[in-house]
């Protein structure tokens, strides 16, 4: 090939950089995950569904009987179970998304070499990232629907706004899956993976999940408000309790940014790792 032809090829490549990243076939990656879930790890999927329900029953109904009602940020009184149920819903979306996008992805990258195989086909890194994240979303969506039905049965959805909690939960799951996969793609050992859990547990306990943010001194409140789960909890809580306001759009924006940042880093990293 002559220099001019090389230059032509290079300019073609530059003119359509997306072509190398995305083949428009994320669906095949999702279908693969669906098949794998069906044939080998459906037990994990089922257990992930019951975890938040057990929390709701023990804390919401058990502790709730002692606590009675709780005063929200907006000054409204809501039953304790109705206060924590949306938070648990957000948490379950987070957990489902995190499991699929961290441990699962880590295993596939480091041991099963699954992505190496995928990227030697016509798939691009963005297909892989989107496919894996969509599967995490689908699972998060199924958990959330089940949990919402339980909430409805227990009378914990206080408003018709609650219907919007479902897309909100998907948004939350998308955000966590996207960032989770990005972080995981930089991890090399099991020890590093444990750091993720070290971060998640306190975030779960302290993100205004079980009590209002106002119990904290101002400084700590800022820290909590910077973390992603708090935004998720507030967004879902606003919808299921019907205490909605325009300020909730900030929570939505927070997740949109998470999704975009996560996708950019994941795609870039997969490209470096498997298409050097």
């Amino acid at each position: 090939m002559t220099d001019s032809e090389t230059a032509v090829a290079a300019s073609v490549a530059a003119a359509r950089p997306m072509r190398a990243l995305y083949a428009g076939n994320a669906r095949s990656v999702m279908q693969r995950g669906w098949r794998a879930t069906r044939s080998s790890n459906w037990m994990i999927v089922v257990s992930g569904f019951f975890e938040p329900i057990f929390y709701l029953l023990s804390m919401g109904l058990g502790l709730g009987a002692l606590i009675g009602t709780i005063t929200t940020e907006s000054g409204d009184e809501v039953p304790y179970a109705a206060f924590i149920a949306p938070a648990l819903l957000a948490v379950s979306a987070m957990n489902g998304a995190i499991y699929d996008s961290t441990w699962n992805v880590f295993f596939k990258m480091q041991f099963a070499k699954l992505y190496e195989g995928m990227l030697s086909t016509s798939l691009g890194p963005l297909d892989v990232a989107l496919g894996e994240i969509s599967l995490a979303l689908l699972r998060g969506g199924i958990y959330a629907t089940g949990f919402m039905l339980v909430m409805q049965a227990l009378g914990l959805n206080l408003s018709w706004w609650a219907l919007l909690a479902l897309p909100a939960v998907l948004l939350i799951a998308f955000g966590f899956a996207s960032v989770g996969m990005a972080i995981t793609s930089y991890m090399k050992t099991f020890q590093q993976m444990d750091w993720i859990n070290l971060f998640l547990l306190p975030m779960f306990l302290f993100s205004a999940t079980f009590y209002p943010l106002s119990v904290y001194p101002q400084g700590i409140q800022y820290v909590i408000q910077a973390l992603p789960l708090w935004h998720g909890v507030e967004l879902v809580r606003g919808l299921t309790t019907g205490l909605v306001g325009p300020g909730m759009l900030w929570h939505v924006l927070y997740y949109v940014v998470m999704i975009l940042v996560g996708l950019v880093f994941t795609t870039r990293r997969l490209r470096v790792l498997f298409l050097d």
């Binding site: 090389t6 195989g117 086909t121 050097d276």
Partner: protein, 308 residues
């Protein structure tokens, strides 16, 4: 002469200061079976990754099926079949599912993939394992499944990186037989190996690679003719005496090579060299006359054995 399906000119791949591939040039014609023979770390796998459009070259020119991988990675990959060095089968899926799912990665229609999967299971002699778990397969079966998977998109070129490394002799022969059939059907094969018998069995033409550069190129027979004698006499005198005996037989044959465990005497007639040795009063512990192989070519070119 038909247009080559792979053209590599002065191909270089550097990782920081280290050049894994240092100026390799070769061409592969359609339907040809072409080999890269060399020891571990010679740059064979890196070359394969560049040809497979999953690694970007540092410099040089590369054309696969008439396309430059820098601009047409996905198009090239869609027309290649890749058998990597270590199996990366999907262990969460069953045997047949591995083929179905892989076909879908290429965006092929479901029905077409299903038909092709059944044909390939038959080809790989894995029909009765269709519903088995991948982990339950033997090493040779996994390898055959990996090859079947690589064929799901009906590739123009099949890339095989060390296809039989780690397999027992019987499994290797079954695999060679399958690859030979593909060759007969006109599939272009590009394979790397550090087994000279594999290269002799499967390659129409090959390059001997060492330290990222090409040492020689030709058909196995040509290379042997050019770089070695017809026969080799191998004698063992015990590790202490080998060097001492080597001095005594310095003029024997065309050339002598002293290895730690044996002496190789290159000659047109091995038996005659053996007779000369007996007349000189030398009685090796063991002796063997054999035909020259690619192993000898490699030894001649690099001063080292292929498997160290």
């Amino acid at each position: 002469m038909p247009e080559p399906v792979i053209i590599a000119q002065n191909l270089v791949k550097k990782y920081k200061d280290f050049a894994a591939v240092d100026g390799i040039s070769f061409e592969v014609a359609p339907g040809e079976s072409f080999g890269l023979l060399g020891p571990n770390g010679a740059g064979k796998s890196t070359t394969m990754r560049m040809v497979g459009a999953v690694s970007t070259r540092t410099s040089g020119d590369l054309s696969i099926l008439g396309l430059d991988p820098n601009g047409y990675g996905p198009e090239i990959r869609s027309r290649l079949g890749v058998v990597p060095q270590s199996d990366n089968l999907d262990t969460e899926l069953r045997v047949r599912e591995n083929l179905l799912v892989y076909g879908r990665y290429f965006g092929l229609p479901r029905k077409q993939v299903a038909e092709r999967a059944d044909e390939l299971l038959a080809f790989a002699q894995l029909e009765d394992k269709a519903k088995s778990k991948v982990d339950a397969l033997s090493g040779g079966m996994k390898r055959r499944l990996t090859i079947a998977r690589a064929l799901i998109n009906d590739p123009k070129i099949l890339l095989l990186d060390e296809p039989t490394t780690g397999l027992d002799p019987q499994a290797r022969h079954i695999l060679w037989d399958r690859l030979f059939r593909l060759k007969e059907q006109g599939t272009t094969l590009l394979l790397t190996t550090h087994y000279m018998d594999e290269a002799e069995q499967l390659c129409d033409r090959l390059v001997v690679v060492d330290k990222g550069t090409i040492m020689a190129e030709g058909s196995p027979a040509e290379l042997i003719r050019k770089h070695s004698s017809r026969e080799v006499l191998e004698v063992r005198f015990g590790s202490e005496r080998n060097a001492q005996v080597a001095e005594q037989i310095a003029g024997f044959g065309d050339r002598i090579e002293v290895l730690p465990d044996r002496i190789l005497v290159y000659s047109g007639n091995g038996e005659r060299e053996m007779e000369r040795m007996t007349q000189a009063g030398l009685h090796p512990i063991t002796s063997l006359v054999r035909r020259s192989s690619l192993e000898d070519v490699f030894l001649r070119l690099t001063g080292r054995t292929l498997i160290e």
